[in-house]
Point group: C2
Chain length 734, copies 2
C-alpha cells in the first residue's frame, strides 16, 4: 500500500454522496452529534462485563456525550409543510432564529427559504432528533454543534458565529420515530440445549457450542437461589469456585413461572445449582447477535480449511456486536489492537462500515487526551492505522473530514511523549503491550512501537492532505520520513540481518523478536534484500521466540503471505487452527499453545479459566483467505482500483466473494481455470501460469517469467484458462 493508491476518484465519490443524499431525503432517521452516541453506547456495553458476579468496568477514562446540542438545516420549500418533531431530551424549536412558544410536537414551515434549529438537552442519554415531514427529514445532512455561541447584545445585534464549528450529524439504523437510540438493543432469537445431565452439584446443560445471550429459566418454583455457573468448557461450568462468570436468581415462587435473566453471558455449558426448595424445570436461552449480512464467502477443496473458515465466521459473528469486541466471555470491551484485526476481517466478510466507524469513534473518545487508547501505546497506533485502512477499503472521506481534529490531538499527545532520541518509550502509566509472550521485554524504546508510530505519521500525512491542511501534511510526512530513517539507523543490525527488539539507555539490545520485522515486511519498509534476509533470519528461524497468540499469528502469517508463502501458510493454518478444532473448539481462542494439554488450555492470568475460548483475533483466516488466497485487495480508496491475485496455496480449487463498497467481486479458481465477476472500479488480475493463458474477453499481458496481468472493467465476467505452477516449497526449507 502506497499513499498514491489512496487518491480517490472524485466522480465516484460525488456520485456516492449524491446517492446517499437522495436516499436520506426520503427517509428520516434519528440523528445526534457524531461520535456521541458511539461513546455513550460503548460505556454501556463495556459496563456489562462482570467477573464472579461483580461489576467490572474499564480502567481508562470513560467520556460522555455533549448534553446540549443544536441541530439545524436550511430548506427551500415550494409549499408550506407540516413537520413532526421527536427528540430524546428537553428541546426548543426555532424557525429562522425565532423560537416557537412551548414544546411543539408539530410545526408548519412556510414556503420559501427557512432555517430550522432544534436544541436538545439530555444528560442521561444522547440528545437526539427525529424530524418527519414530506421533504424536511432528519438525516446526516443536518449540521450540529455543542456551542452555537448565538447571543444577542443589548442593541439586538446577533453575535458573530462564524467561529462555531458545525459537523454533519451522526446516525445509524434508527429509522423509525419510535425506535429510540437510547433503547438500542441487538436482536435475539431462542436457542435450546442439546443435552441436560445431572452433575455432582446440580444440573449441567450443554448448548452444543459456544454461544452468547440471556438464560431463560422455565418452571421455577419454590424459595431459594438458582445459581448458574457458566462455562466455555465443561470444566469451568462445573467449577463453582473458579468459573469466571455466574448469575444468582432469587426465587419466591409458589407456582411455576418463567424468568429471563437480565444480563447476557458467554458459554457453552451452564451448571444449575439450587438452594432451599427451589426447582427449575429447564433452561433455554435468547441468542443475541448483530445480524449483519455476510457478503464475503470462501469454499475450497480442503474440508478442514472450510471448517476453519466456518468456525472463524462464527467466532467473528459472536464478537461482532454493538462494536467489535475482544472476546465474549471475559472483557467484552473495545480494545483497539483487537478491533484493528476485526476491521480487516470485516472487510472480507460483512463490509459493514458502520461497525468499523462506530468502534473507531468509541475508542477515541474525546479530548483532552489523558492516556493512550486503552492505556496501551501500540493500541493508539493501531487506531491511526485503522483509519488508513478504513479509508482505503471504504473511500469514506467525510469520516476523516469530521474527525481529523481528534486525530491531531491524539497524535500531538504521542509526539509529546517521545524520549531524547525522538523515540516512543513507555512512560509511567503507559502500557507497552505488543503481545502476550513470556519474558517479552518492554524496556526502553521498542522498535515495534517506532514502526507503528512511523506508519501512524504517514496516516496523519495522508489524512491532512484529504482535509486540505497542507502545512500539517508536510509536517507529519517530514516526521515520518525522519523516523523511518532512524528506524534503520538505530535498530537494523547488520550481523543479525534484522531489526533488533529495542534500545535501552540509547544502546541497541542484542534481542531480536518477530514483531517489528514482520510488520516492516507488509508495510514495505524493507528493500528486497532486507526482506529476503529477514524471512530467513527471523520469520523462518526457530531460534527466535515463537508466537503463541492468534493475535500476532495474524501478522506473522500475513507477512509470509505478502512474500508469496501461501503454501506454507495454508499448512500452518491447518496446524494451528486445525489444532484447536481437533481439541473440540467450537470457536477460536485467545491463546492456543499446542504444547499445552487438557485444562492447561483454559488457564490464564493465574486463573484456572481465565482464558477466553472465543476471541475475535482467533478469526483471522477470514482475512488471510480473502486477501491472500482469493487475493482481492483495494489499491486506491474505496476499491476505485484493486488487484485480484489468486493463490491456491496447494488447494485444488477455491471459490468465494469479496465485498466492495459497490458490489461483490466473485471468484472461482482451480489449477486450470479462473472465473471472475468484477464489481465497480477498475481491477487488475495478476497470476502465474505455466502455459500461455487464454481469456476471450480480456487482454492478457505477459509481465516476464510466468507472470501475467489483465485489466478488468467494472461489473464484467471473465474466464481465464491457464495452468497454475506447482505448490511452492520455499518455506519448507526451514
Amino acid at each position: 500500500m502506497k499513499n498514491n493508491m489512496l487518491k480517490a476518484c472524485p466522480l465516484l465519490i460525488t456520485l456516492f454522496v449524491f446517492c446517499q443524499d437522495l436516499l436520506a431525503q426520503s427517509r428520516p432517521t434519528w440523528i445526534w452529534y457524531p461520535g456521541d452516541f458511539e461513546i455513550w453506547l460503548s460505556n454501556n456495553m463495556q459496563n456489562r462485563r462482570t467477573e464472579r458476579n461483580t461489576f467490572y468496568p474499564v480502567f481508562w477514562k470513560y467520556d460522555s456525550h455533549y448534553p446540549l446540542i443544536d441541530f439545524h438545516k436550511d430548506f427551500d420549500l415550494t409549499t408550506a409543510e407540516a413537520v413532526k418533531i421527536y427528540t430524546e431530551g428537553a428541546y426548543n424549536v426555532k424557525i429562522d432564529g425565532r423560537a416557537i412558544e412551548g414544546v411543539p410536537q408539530q410545526i408548519t414551515v412556510p414556503a420559501g427559504h427557512h432555517r430550522i434549529n432544534i436544541k436538545v438537552f439530555n444528560q442521561a442519554n444522547v440528545p437526539a432528533v427525529y424530524v418527519e415531514g414530506k421533504t424536511i427529514v432528519s438525516d446526516s445532512s443536518w449540521l450540529v454543534t455543542f456551542e452555537d455561541k448565538e447571543w444577542i447584545d443589548e442593541t439586538g445585534k446577533a453575535s458573530d458565529v462564524s467561529a462555531t464549528k458545525w459537523l454533519n450529524a451522526g446516525s445509524w439504523n434508527f429509522h423509525h420515530s419510535q425506535t429510540l437510540p437510547s433503547a438500542c438493543k441487538l436482536p435475539v432469537r431462542p436457542q435450546y440445549a442439546v443435552s441436560t445431565n445431572k452433575s455432582n452439584s446440580g444440573t449441567l446443560v450443554d448448548f452444543g457450542k459456544e454461544t452468547f445471550g440471556f438464560i431463560r429459566l422455565h418452571g421455577v418454583q419454590g424459595t431459594g437461589n438458582v445459581t448458574l455457573y457458566y462455562g466455555e468448557s465443561k470444566e469451568e461450568a462445573l467449577h463453582a469456585k473458579s468459573a469466571e462468570t455466574y448469575d444468582v436468581f432469587s426465587s419466591r415462587q409458589s407456582s411455576k413461572t418463567d424468568s429471563l435473566l437480565p444480563s447476557s453471558k458467554a458459554f457453552r455449558y451452564v451448571n444449575i445449582v439450587t438452594s432451599g426448595d427451589v426447582k427449575v424445570d429447564s433452561i433455554s436461552m435468547l441468542y443475541e447477535y448483530a445480524g449483519l449480512k455476510e457478503r464475503g464467502q470462501f469454499r475450497c477443496s480442503d474440508e478442514e480449511v472450510n471448517r476453519i473458515y466456518d468456525i472463524s465466521k462464527y467466532t467473528f459473528e459472536l464478537n461482532t456486536r454493538e462494536f467489535f469486541i475482544d472476546g465474549i466471555k471475559r472483557d467484552r470491551w473495545v480494545w483497539s489492537g483487537d478491533a484493528y484485526q476485526s476491521y480487516l476481517m470485516n472487510y472480507y466478510l460483512y463490509f459493514d462500515n458502520a461497525t468499523v466507524s462506530r468502534t473507531i469513534l468509541a475508542l477515541r473518545g474525546k479530548d483532552p487526551v489523558t492516556s493512550h487508547i486503552n492505556t496501551i501505546m501500540d493500541y493508539t497506533f493501531y487506531w491511526f492505522l485503522s483509519i488508513y485502512d478504513y479509508y482505503l477499503y471504504t473511500g469514506d472521506q467525510s469520516f476523516i473530514k469530521q474527525f481529523y481534529p481528534r486525530m491531531q490531538t491524539m497524535m500531538e499527545y504521542c509526539l509529546g511523549r517521545r524520549n531524547k532520541e525522538g523515540l516512543m518509550q513507555g512512560l509511567s502509566g503507559d502500557w507497552v503491550f505488543i503481545d502476550w509472550a513470556d519474558g517479552l521485554s518492554k524496556k526502553g524504546a521498542v522498535s515495534f512501537e517506532q514502526l507503528l508510530l512511523c506508519r501512524s505519521l504517514e496516516t496523519m500525512g495522508l489524512c491532512a492532505d484529504l482535509v486540505g491542511d497542507k502545512s500539517d501534511a508536510a509536517k507529519y510526512n517530514q516526521y515520518a520520513a525522519t523516523l523511518k530513517k532512524q528506524l534503520f539507523e538505530l535498530y537494523w543490525n547488520q550481523q543479525q540481518q534484522a531489526l533488533v527488539h529495542s534500545r535501552v539507555d540509547g544502546q541497541q539490545t542484542a534481542n531480536v523478536t518477530r514483531y517489528a520485522n514482520m510488520f516492516a515486511i507488509f508495510y514495505d519498509y524493507f528493500n528486497a534484500a532486507q526482506k529476503n534476509a529477514v524471512k530467513q533470519s527471523v520469520l523462518l528461524n526457530d531460534s527466535i521466540q515463537k508466537i503463541t497468540t492468534p493475535y500476532m499469528r495474524f501478522y506473522e502469517l500475513e507477512a509470509l503471505c505478502a512474500m508469496g508463502e501461501q503454501d506454507y501458510v495454508l499448512k500452518e493454518m491447518k496446524d494451528y487452527w486445525g489444532g484447536m478444532l481437533k481439541l473440540g473448539a467450537t470457536s477460536f481462542w485467545e491463546v492456543y499453545n499446542p504444547a499445552e494439554t487438557g485444562v492447561q488450555h483454559y488457564a490464564m492470568y493465574g486463573r484456572a479459566f481465565g482464558r477466553s475460548l472465543c476471541h475475535a483475533w482467533g478469526a483471522s483466516p477470514l482475512y488471510l483467505l480473502g486477501k491472500y488466497y482469493l487475493g482481492v485487495k483495494p489499491t486506491s480508496a474505496g476499491y476505485n482500483t484493486y488487484t485480484v491475485q489468486p493463490a491456491l496455496g496447494g488447494l485444488q480449487w477455491m471459490e468465494g466473494k469479496v465485498p466492495t463498497p459497490n458490489g461483490d467481486i466473485v471468484l472461482y479458481c482451480s489449477t486450470k481455470e479462473m472465473k471472475i465477476t468484477t464489481a465497480a472500479g477498475t481491477g487488475l488480475l495478476r497470476f502465474r501460469s505455466k502455459i500461455k493463458p487464454v481469456c476471450k474477453t480480456g487482454t492478457l499481458v505477459n509481465k516476464g517469467e510466468d507472470w501475467y496481468e489483465m485489466a478488468m472493467r467494472a461489473a464484467t465476467s471473465y474466464v481465464v484458462n491457464y495452468q497454475a505452477p506447482k505448490p511452492e516449497t520455499h518455506a519448507k526449507t526451514r
Copy 2:
C-alpha cells in the same frame, strides 16, 4: 492588594485542615469527583430558564461529569469494622485490590492496614459514594480518579499507576445516606398573596414584593387551561403577549383539587387567565431559597441607607441559589462577571465558601477549552480574579491545588488568542462585553481587557507559587510585568491624562471610557499622580460616558471609595439605589437609568419587559458598606492579617459585623467612638482623628497628619475615643 499579602500562615492552615479532618472523621458525607457535581448541577439549574414557556438553555458548551470514578482511601484499624456502602451508580468494592463478589452493601474490613476502593459508574447522575462505618467514613480525604490505569499483565504483574492523578473527593452538605446528591433540591416555605383583584383578562394576584418559587393552585375544578402570566411589574403580568414567562396548567378535574406547578418562576404579580369552564379558588406559592446564614450586618444613622442595605440583602438572597446567578426572572444562568460581584458581596454577608467554589467550578467546566467562559472574554478574566479573591478571603489553598491545572489550560487558551502586539482582541466567536452601554466600541484591542488579563496573569503567578510550580510562576509573572508595561506604553494618553479605550489596527483611539481607568485605581496600577489625574479627568468628568448599570457602578464606586471618597459615594448610593426605591423597587434592578420614566424602566433587548428587576449585581451596597465603610478587608490569605479602616462617609454612626473564616469582626463607629471586637488573625485599625485618640487596651501610633494606627490581637474587644474629621468634600467639586 499585593501578592505578599497572600502568604498564608502555615500553622493556621495546618490547624484548620486538622480540625476539618477531625470533623470529617466523625461524619460521613456523600463524595464525588471534585467539580463534577458542580457541573452536573449547573447544567440542570441553567436548564430551568424558559422564555414564553419555551426551553431556553445556554449557548456555550455544557460539560459532563466523568461517568466512571474510582474512590479509595487507606485505613489503619485496631479492630475489624463493619462498613455500610451506598452509591449512586453501578459499583464494585475492593479491599487491598481484591474485588468482593457481587454487589456488597455491607463489608467487614479486618484489623490492620487496608485500602478500600469503590468504583462507580453513572451516566445520568454523578457517580457518588457514601461510606458509613465507625471510623471508616466517606469524606473529602478520600482520593478519586477518572482513570485508575490498573491493569494486570499476563504474568499477574500489576501496572505502574504512578502517573495516575488523584484528587481529593468533592462534597457539600449531603450528610445522610438517604439525601442523594442527584435529588438535590433547595428548601421551600409557603408564602401568600397580599392582594387579589379582578383584572381585564382574569385575576391579578400580588405577592407584595419580588419573590421566587412554585405556584400552588388551590381548588381547581373544570376542564380547560389555567394560564399564569408572571410579572416583576404589574404591567408585565397584565401583558399576556409580552410577559417574559408564563405557565399553562391543563385541568380535567370534576372536583376541587390543589396542584403545585413543577417549574419555579420569579414574580411579584401573577395574572390568572382561564379557558373552558375551569375555575381556581386561589393561589399561594412555595418560596425557594438557599437558606444560608447571614453573618454580615450593617446598621447606621441614615434610614434610607439601612433600607438600601436591606433590599440589597433581599436581592442577593433571591439570586443566591445552587449557584450565584445573574437574575431570577430571565437568565437564571451562572455568568462569570455577575458571579464575580456576588462572590465579593458574599464575603460581607454569608461568607459561604461552598457557593463560591461551586460557582467557580461550574463556570470553568472542563477541558478542552473551546471558548471564553460564557463566551465572553472579560468573563474569563473575572474567573481568574475570583480565584485570587477566594484565596485572599478564605485562605483555601487546597482548592487551588486541586484546580490549578484547569487554570493553566484556561490561561493557555487566552494566551493563544493574542494579536501581533500581544494584546487580547475579540476574535470571531468571542464576545467582548465590558458593559451594557450605548455605542460602546468593542473594536480592536480594548484597554480594559488587557488590564484584566494582566491581573489574571498575576493571579496565575500567585497560584503557580502556591502549588510549587516555580517555572510557571516565573513565566506568568514575566508575562504580567511585560503586559503592565505595555498597558502604559500603548494606552496612556498624556494629553487626556487617562488610559484610552482601545487600539485599532495598532493605533491608539482618542476615546476615553471609565472602565480601564477605574479598575487601574483599585488594582493600584497607577502611580499617585496618575491616580489623582484620572480621578479628575475620568471619574469626576461628566463628559465621559456615564455608567448606567449597577454592574459597572459597583466598580466605579469602589474606585472612588478606594480613593477615600466615601462621602461622595454615600450620596451617589442614596441617589442611585434610593432612586429605585422611590420607584417602588422591592429588589434592585439589572439596569436603572434615572432619565427614564414609567414602563421605560422595564424594557430591554427590544422587549417590553426584557429587563430584570432583581439582579444580583444590584446588591453591591453589601460589599461597599462592608469593605469601605465598616472598612474591613483581609490583607493576607484567610484574614490571617487584615485592616479595619472605618469611614462614616457623613453618617453619624454605623455598626455591623464582617465575617471571616474564624469568627466575625464586630464594629461600632460614631464620630467620637469606635468599638471593635476582633476575630482570629492580626488586625490593624486605621483611622483619622482630630484629637489625640484614647484606647485603654491597645497601643495607638500616630502615622503623621491626623492618621492613627493600632495593632489588634485576635478575639479581643477595643474601645477607641477619637474625633472623626468633618465629611470630605472633594468629589463635590465636580
